[in-house]
């Protein structure tokens, strides 16, 4: 590390166990807490998906944990709702942004911590409480919600009468999401404030690592989107608890009972939900894009191809994400002209997305690629992004969507692009940053086995779903046994289920590798990947104030690999021009 920064005394980490590990203000501890929270959520979510796959392939098999072992249709809906809510909110939203972002954004920009450490701690603990409230809904009378993660009104708004789980379970769901919104808003303020004000000397916007750009733009989206979901949840709770009629129309007959509500609009919920919901998709994927650009560049030993284009396309995707929510509602009876507008705007997102893909391939082109586990997952991400993105272009067209809406085609699409792609980025981030976080290397061989099984596995799971969708198979059916025109698809179901079991089993390699390596992995050097950004220039473990009082000055862009004439094939951002060793 260059010695240009002024020496100042730095504060020590608090000594007490409770203040050090539990109610910590340190962004690194908080980031780790978020990652562990996400790891718990993803484990539960994965077990739920295995239950779904067992039930779909063999509907009559008894499963432990359900009444008499029988999975009723309502139970199945409970499982999908809990799976979706956990995965979208507590994994995809939480880990790439609040987890890795919290840990590495301050270090990458040369700051001692987040701008508002107490707020940061509150965000985490509110997220934690929110997850507890969600999970507790499984243990109340009637069980957890059966509405799906989108909680469409009016059935989410009318209470118990709409089915088991629509009583207290659905109320707890709405409370949980409202709390989550609050936590996400506080976290977004922190990310934005930190990036705007705490960058090291010389770290201009166009010298920020693309990870930082990803987190920055994601935080902007979260800031503008979660307030809307919070408002929607409040209105939903009022409809449920205070007899208002925001989302419940007049003369609604539910289970043979005529409700007293009047004049509300179920579509209003859809508008509010998807105004949040579509940016949410990008909240999950933009940090992933940043991480992938970062990892690809490091292991290609090449600068990111078209850095500025990457920044502008990230911003363009973020901007457009607020104008396309209607494409989730093509079959809601909207004016065809509105549908056309939403459709065109949606297709426009293909342009910055294609720029990104092109630049990722450009980064790989002609490179001396190092196929580490992190790199494999990054390349896997690009593959999944292309496959999942292409089916999006089909769904963006109202004429096709009328047919494909609410079929397995949609399930295949969003799992590839939003679910699995973002999870691949999390894996890439874990394999890449693990040495800095825990001071040990993860096992590369296990990592590669994990990658290949997962990569092949997810394609075997989600590609056939596109065919199920073409065949007209609706999502959310607990079983197709009694549906004559669908039952011939049962062999596909069985194939997908087996692929899902193998993929889930492959994750054991990851769990083992992760927990074993924390203590027993090969000790890591300070900069094992020979990377350029600031987090690799500080010692491991990272000091409490990140830089032990020597705050860096940044002299160059983030991806100076293989610079002609330099002795090393990478030049760290904080090395002064006159200090660069020449070949």
């Amino acid at each position: 590390m260059s010695s240009h920064a002024t020496t100042v005394h730095h504060s020590e980490a608090p000594k007490g166990w409770l203040r050090h590990y539990i109610f910590s203000l340190d962004h690194k501890i908080i980031g780790t807490q978020y990652i562990l929270l996400g790891l718990s959520a993803v484990t539960i979510g994965m077990v739920l998906s295995v239950i779904m796959r067992i039930h779909l392939a063999w509907p009559n098999v008894h499963i432990w944990g359900f009444a008499n072992g029988v999975v009723s249709p309502e139970d199945y809906l409970r499982v999908i709702t809990m799976h979706g809510t956990l995965m979208v909110f507590f994994v995809l939203t939480t880990v790439p942004q609040s987890g890795f972002g919290n840990y590495f954004l301050p270090i990458q920009i040369g700051a001692p911590d987040m701008a508002f450490p107490t707020l940061n701690m509150l965000s985490f603990w509110l997220t934690f409480v929110s997850m507890l409230v969600l999970l507790s809904s499984a243990f109340v009378p009637g069980g957890s919600s059966i509405s799906g993660w989108t909680a469409y009104a009016p059935l989410s708004a009318v209470g118990e009468i709409a089915g088991p789980g629509q009583g207290l379970g659905q109320t707890l769901w709405a409370v949980s999401i409202a709390l989550f919104c609050g936590a996400s808003l506080m976290s977004a303020i922190n990310f934005l404030g930190t990036t705007i004000d705490l960058r090291a000397k010389g770290l201009s916007l166009m010298r920020m690592p693309l990870t930082v750009w990803g987190w920055f733009i994601t935080a902007s989206l979260a800031l503008l989107a979660f307030g809307v979901l919070l408002a929607a949840c409040i209105l939903l709770l009022l409809d449920r608890l205070a007899m208002t009629s925001f989302f419940i129309p007049a003369n609604l007959d539910v289970s043979g009972v005529l409700l007293k509500h009047a004049g509300g609009s179920p579509l209003l919920w859809q508008h509010l939900f998807w105004f949040f919901g579509h940016p949410e998709v990008y909240i999950a994927i933009l940090p992933a894009m940043g991480i992938i650009s970062h990892v690809l560049s490091t292991f290609s030993r090449k600068p990111v191809f078209g850095y500025k284009a990457m920044v502008y396309s990230l911003s363009a995707i973020g901007f457009l994400s607020f104008m396309v929510w209607g494409h989730h509602m093509f079959i809601s009876g909207m004016n065809p002209y509105s549908a056309l507008t939403f459709s065109i705007l949606t297709l426009v997102i293909g342009v910055p997305s294609a720029i990104k893909t092109f630049n990722w391939l450009g980064t790989l082109w002609g490179a001396r690629i190092q196929f580490t586990a992190a790199m494999l997952f990054a390349i896997g991400f690009v593959s999944l992004f292309v496959t999942g993105g292409l089916s999006g272009i089909f769904l963006a067209q109202p004429a096709l969507d009328l047919y494909l809406h609410d079929t397995y085609y949609v399930i295949g699409h969003f799992h590839l692009i939003m679910g699995v792609a973002a999870i691949f980025a999390m894996f890439a981030a874990t394999y890449y940053w693990f040495p800095k976080m825990f001071g040990h290397m993860m096992n590369e061989t296990l990592g590669k086995i994990h990658f290949w099984m997962t990569f092949v596995g997810v394609y075997c799971i989600f590609m056939p779903m596109h065919y199920l969708g073409y065949a007209g198979d609706p999502r959310r059916y607990a079983s197709i046994e009694s549906v004559h025109y669908l039952f011939r698809l049962q062999p596909v179901y069985i194939f997908i289920s087996i692929a899902a079991f193998v993929t889930a089993a492959a994750q054991l390699f990851f769990y083992f590798n992760f927990f074993w390596s924390i203590k027993r992995g090969k000790p890591a050097e300070r900069n094992p990947w020979r990377a350029t950004t600031l987090e690799w220039q500080v010692s491991t473990p990272v000091p409490h104030d990140n830089f032990a009082g020597h705050y860096p000055t940044v002299y160059r862009g983030p991806y100076e690999y293989s610079v002609p004439g330099a002795a090393e094939d990478f030049i760290p951002q904080d090395v002064a021009p006159e200090q660069v060793a020449k070949a």
Binding site: A5, P112, G193, D197, S204, L223, G263, Y551, G557
Partner: protein, 215 residues
């Protein structure tokens, strides 16, 4: 040197800003302004600006729901606007002036004057909240409860949401008025509080007009 920063990049740095290392100095966890690492004070101003963006979106969601719900439902009933809201609005507008006055005294170094006008602002804020409760009472007297009609539902939701946010402002006024600050300097604290207070004032004027013209 085959690869050095170009002049153009250097200019971006000048313009782009970023933290300066010495500003993190002196960060004892001793409760002195500056906190653990002595983060620069401008983060609080930035943070408030960003936070107001989030609050604005939250209220815009309610406002657009209001407009949509009025447009699609055939059951909309106009409620009589509680008279006292006019007075409340004037009180809140006045409180924006008094907080400006307080900061003028602060800038001059006149602690007494500052404290006086800061307290007046706090009292006006509390009066506004009391007035809002009276407005609710007037709504109840004219027969409009939370669930009576979507129009009154929105009335209660908007006034309650704004009231809670304003209560946060009053807490900040009291906290800053007490004068024992941990991370912020006094100047930053008064600036951030005043910005938020003006925002709450402007937001109320918007909501008042929305309810008045849209009910």
């Amino acid at each position: 040197m085959p690869h050095t920063s170009t002049t153009e990049e250097l200019e971006i740095i000048e313009a782009g800003g970023g933290g300066t290392p010495p500003s993190f100095a002196g960060g004892d966890d001793d409760g002195s302004p500056g906190g653990r690492f002595g983060l620069p004070q401008r983060v609080y101003v930035t943070g408030m600006a960003i936070g107001m963006g989030a609050i604005l979106m939250f209220f815009m969601a309610f406002a657009s729901a209001f407009i949509v719900r009025k447009g699609v439902g055939s059951d909309w009933q106009a409620f009589p606007m509680p008279r006292i809201l006019w007075l409340n609005t004037l009180i809140l507008l006045a409180s924006s002036l008094t907080i400006v006055r307080a900061r003028q005294f602060f800038a001059r170094g006149d602690r007494e004057g500052f404290r006086h006008w800061w307290s007046v602002t706090t009292i006006l804020g509390l009066l506004f909240l009391a007035g809002q409760l009276i407005a609710w009472r007037q709504m109840v007297i004219s027969g409009f409860y939370l669930a009576t009609n979507a129009s009154s539902s929105f009335f209660y939701v908007l006034t309650a949401a704004h009231g809670l946010h304003l209560l946060g402002g009053i807490v900040a006024l009291l906290y800053v008025g007490r004068g024992k600050l941990r991370r912020l300097t006094f100047a930053t604290a008064t600036e951030v509080t005043a910005v938020y207070w003006h925002f709450m004032d402007g937001l109320w004027v918007f909501l008042f007009l929305l309810l008045l013209l849209g009910r």
